[in-house]
Each structure stands twice: as C-alpha cells, then as structure tokens.
C-alpha cells in the first residue's frame, strides 16, 4: 500500500516539474490531482480506523455527540490543511494562512461543545465521589 503511494507521489512530482517548465498553470492542477489520488487511496484505511474508534467510544460510555464532534474537527482540520498546502504550492502563501486562520476559527467554535460535554462528564464524576 505504501509502495503505491510512493509510486504515485514520484510520478506526480515528475509531472509537476515537467509542467512547471512548459506551462506553470497546469502544474497546480497536477499537484491537486496527485493529492486527490493519494488521499482516495488512504480513505479506506481511514475508514477502518474510524470504525474501530467508534467501537472503543461506544464501550467507554462517552456519549456519541462528543466523538462525532471530534471527527468533525479532524475532518475540518484535514480539509483546511489540504487546501492550504495546495495554495502554498501554487505560490500564494497569504491565502493559505487566511484559510488556516478560518479553519482554526471553525474548529474553536466547534470545540466549545466538546468542552461543555467534558465539563458535564467531570461534574458527574465529582458528584459520584
């Protein structure tokens, strides 16, 4: 599996370098395409990891909304990082930084619900003791 990733990334790099000299606009699209293909390959393993995590969370008794919020935050973090790295590749770092700032804000807004859920759980524990 990892060899497929290595092969695709090397091919992508070669294509991007070739295109960068001939037509720079196509280089950006080649990087995006390589990124998409590599992520699609990784998605299946990501699915298994998430399913196993789901079982662990069900056993541990933490309510489902916290885990789905965590998943959402992972997703948002990954998507913003993905597009920010494409933007930096294409040469405009300022857009990438603004994107990451937006991603941080959305994650912060979502984490408020997790923090409150955590405080409830801790509150219950304290009452038990």
């Amino acid at each position: 599996m990892i060899f497929k990733l290595i092969a695709i990334s090397i091919i992508g790099v070669v294509v991007v370098l070739m295109l960068r000299s001939a037509k720079p606009e196509f280089a950006v699209f080649a990087t995006i395409a390589t990124g998409v293909i590599m992520v699609v390959i990784l998605l299946s393993t990501l699915q298994d990891v998430i399913l196993s995590f789901d079982n662990v969370v069900k056993k541990s008794g933490v309510d489902e909304s916290v885990f789905s919020a965590v998943l959402k935050i992972i997703g948002i973090g990954y998507l913003t990082e993905y597009s920010a790295s494409i933007a930096t590749d294409a040469g405009c770092g300022s857009i990438a930084q603004k994107l990451q700032f937006g991603g941080k804000l959305t994650i912060f807004a979502m984490s408020i619900s997790i923090v409150s859920a955590l405080i409830d759980v801790v509150g219950e524990l304290v009452n038990l003791v």
Binding site: I8, L19, F26, F29, A30, V36, V40, I50, K72, I74
Partner: protein, 66 residues
C-alpha cells in the same frame, strides 16, 4: 482513479504548450491564447469533479454535514 489522471493532465498540458508555441510562431497570438484557455478549461473540469468526489467522501466519512 489512478495514475492515469495525472498523466492525462500532463499530456493536456504539454499538448497545449506545443500548440500555443506553434500558433505563436505562425504569428496567430490570439488563437494561441484561446488554445491555452481551452486546455486549461479541460483540465479545470477534470480536476474539479475529482475534488468534489474527494470532499463528498470525506464529508460522508467524517460525518461532517455542516
């Protein structure tokens, strides 16, 4: 979904480069810009539906429905 898409984009890029150079040499610069634009649009369409597919799978995988 494999390496062929990357090679397809590379092929389109090189083809547009060659076509635009040929058109520039035979001093038809306006047609050259159109040819480059056409190649660019073809690649944009190709990449956009790949990205939308990727974002949909990630959205469904991580239950991100915001």
């Amino acid at each position: 979904m494999g390496v062929d898409i990357i090679l397809k984009i590379a092929g389109i890029g090189i083809l547009t480069a060659v076509v635009s150079v040929i058109l520039k040499k035979s001093d038809r610069d306006d047609v050259a810009t159109f040819a480059t634009l056409a190649g660019l649009i073809v690649v944009i369409v190709l990449v956009i539906d790949m990205i939308s597919g990727l974002f949909d799978t990630i959205k469904s995988l991580l239950s991100l429905y915001s």
